[in-house]
Symmetry: C2
Subunit: 427 residues, 2 copies
Amino acid sequence: MLRVAIAGLGTVGAAVVRQLRANADSIALRTGRPVALTAVSARNKNRSRDCDLSGIEWVDDPCALAERADVDVIVELIGGAEGVARQLAEAALSKGKHFVTANKALIAKHGPALAALAEQSGAQMSFEAAVAGGIPVIKALREGLAGDTVDTVYGILNGTCNYILTRMRAEKLPFSVVLADAQKNGYAEADPSSDIDGHDTANKLAILTSLAFGVAPDISAVRVEGIRNITLADIQFADELGCRIKLLGVARKASDGIEQGVRPTLVPQSSPLAAVEGTFNSVLLQGQRVGTITLEGRGAGGDPTGNAVVADLMDIARGTRTFAFGVPAGRLGLLKPGNPRPICYYMRLQVQDRPGVVADVGGIMRDENLSFASLIQRGHSKMDSVPVVITTHEGDAEAMRRAVEKIARLPAVMEYPCLIPIEDDAP
Amino acid sequence: MLRVAIAGLGTVGAAVVRQLRANADSIALRTGRPVALTAVSARNKNRSRDCDLSGIEWVDDPCALAERADVDVIVELIGGAEGVARQLAEAALSKGKHFVTANKALIAKHGPALAALAEQSGAQMSFEAAVAGGIPVIKALREGLAGDTVDTVYGILNGTCNYILTRMRAEKLPFSVVLADAQKNGYAEADPSSDIDGHDTANKLAILTSLAFGVAPDISAVRVEGIRNITLADIQFADELGCRIKLLGVARKASDGIEQGVRPTLVPQSSPLAAVEGTFNSVLLQGQRVGTITLEGRGAGGDPTGNAVVADLMDIARGTRTFAFGVPAGRLGLLKPGNPRPICYYMRLQVQDRPGVVADVGGIMRDENLSFASLIQRGHSKMDSVPVVITTHEGDAEAMRRAVEKIARLPAVMEYPCLIPIEDDAP
């Protein structure tokens, strides 16, 4: 029998309890071994939860779970890179107890140290639930593509942002209105910053980067930009250009290292990512041999994420042992941040409608060796400013940054330009 | 060290040899154990192959590989449900040698018996490469969704058919012209029947059904229809209806058993399957907890399929052991074929253009309790027949079959009607 303790009983924890109970027979049949819940711990014992805790011991101090002789695996669903979650992970793994978590911040920050502890004590550490909820993307990278050489990993990794961008486009609503509504109906947190400013995506991306390229996750090497500054106008101009705006996490082998970025991005409507709407997630893995593999599904929610936790538990019950990041912790390389490769850009300017503005912008771009792919100017007004949207051919990121700074200083340019990269490498 | 022998050195075999050599260090690092090729066997020793066989012993009789003390795993890439492939599988597994194969016909027909042999001798049998080439769909079902209850598995499982249907639509060419060209450029076999008549898809579907529902694969329970009778007109009418025609394999839990079908199907352009073009494959898995997961990628080709073989070998090298079909062979249920659920249909009639035809067709449908969703009549001619396309609301499959037979007997109906189901359950 595999004896499991769960620390943290929010929506994911409750879903794990339900699934382990409801499918106990099938789980035992498939792993050759019953998987039983022996103890749980959460902050508030009296809160009503959508799961049956009868016959399971309640423990007030989650870290005490690591001390119990009747526990083989600890499932950590508390969250946070430090504090109780980290203490529990260290206590469990140093005692040889297997450790399963959905905690992306913990794994992105302390994953290699925890993996080393696991290797020393012979325990398994697994975190399928930490990235893309119900989509088995960790398994696909760690095992399915283990024999290949991965060049690129990218995708839509945050359901809240994708939900907001989807509704802005479908209902022609501004960001602030959709965000407020998403908070009201539970699709966004009261403090939405972790999602909409891209940090959640960055944690997940750092973990995928580690698995894909055999380096330690390095969240500080991720260039992060969220969706706060995306306007309805940008979404509508993108539409006109045959594109959708998505918040992408992108990790790519560059000539000088590994480029990691989280940023709003224009993707062509023909790209599989363009069709990923609402709270769905999608990840593209590009291997030298296997080509492009796309995995899509529910990126959050109790049941999908709980299923990922149960899958990890079943692997442990079967006796499957893998290195947490695909390679031994001591062999994880140091991530060398690479420069972004040349890429096409979308730039929206708010300008006074007077002759010569486009010539001025064009001159700046020419001096930086950047070229126009298209230009849209909407409306006409002597008094007010009008939007001008420019797309570029592939250009150097640094040159583009310099150009934007110079363009921002032109007297006829009324706001700081909005610059969004365009990704166009559909399989 | 894990010592591997390969039987069959076509495009997939050569790709496996190349990958094991090129990535030997990374494979050893990731599995904790070198994976080395010790022997190979193929029909023609003198054929030039795109791989380096130096230092690897050549064995004329593939079955002799099972006798060798210096071989731990046998990779079977010969093909066919009987003959050498089956003998080799039985010889290897009864001697406790692990067995990895890309042979869908063998697994669909003899899989459970071979899995029982593997369990008796303590060997692992794996066949990721047998379904959907480079896409890790077997792993996703056997491990990722192992704790969930799967309701539906469906997808595009044959690259040749999808390539033909894609080109017919894109280039407005009839089936026969595209098939001939596909044969010329290697996308279709000289004898294309296994692909275009749906048998290849049926084998793959039977394997997925087994993994999804815990039953023995039963190819005889798959209703199979290929793409030979799909005309350019059907593709263009589908387009007009906002749909694409795809050859789908569908396995679905019905109230009375499990429905398995392979058939050309109209899928709405908004469905993720509609965007899967050319030789790509895509599989949708619907679990009660995890929701819909879509996996897309290259469904064939030496390198993608070879990568799936190498991933199986790496799992074995790590010591991972799973039941070949997810549950012990002795616990695989017997598949009870279920009746298709009510579904919408597309029907194309070739009729004489005279009053009353639609009324006659409508009467037959009314008597079978079937109702029109739309009707398209194109052109107008006193002399020739004209096409009439009808789509229906959800109707019973048996009733629809009876209606088609009666409609075929109407004097004004000039050809046997073309009937294609419409699948509309995008996630």
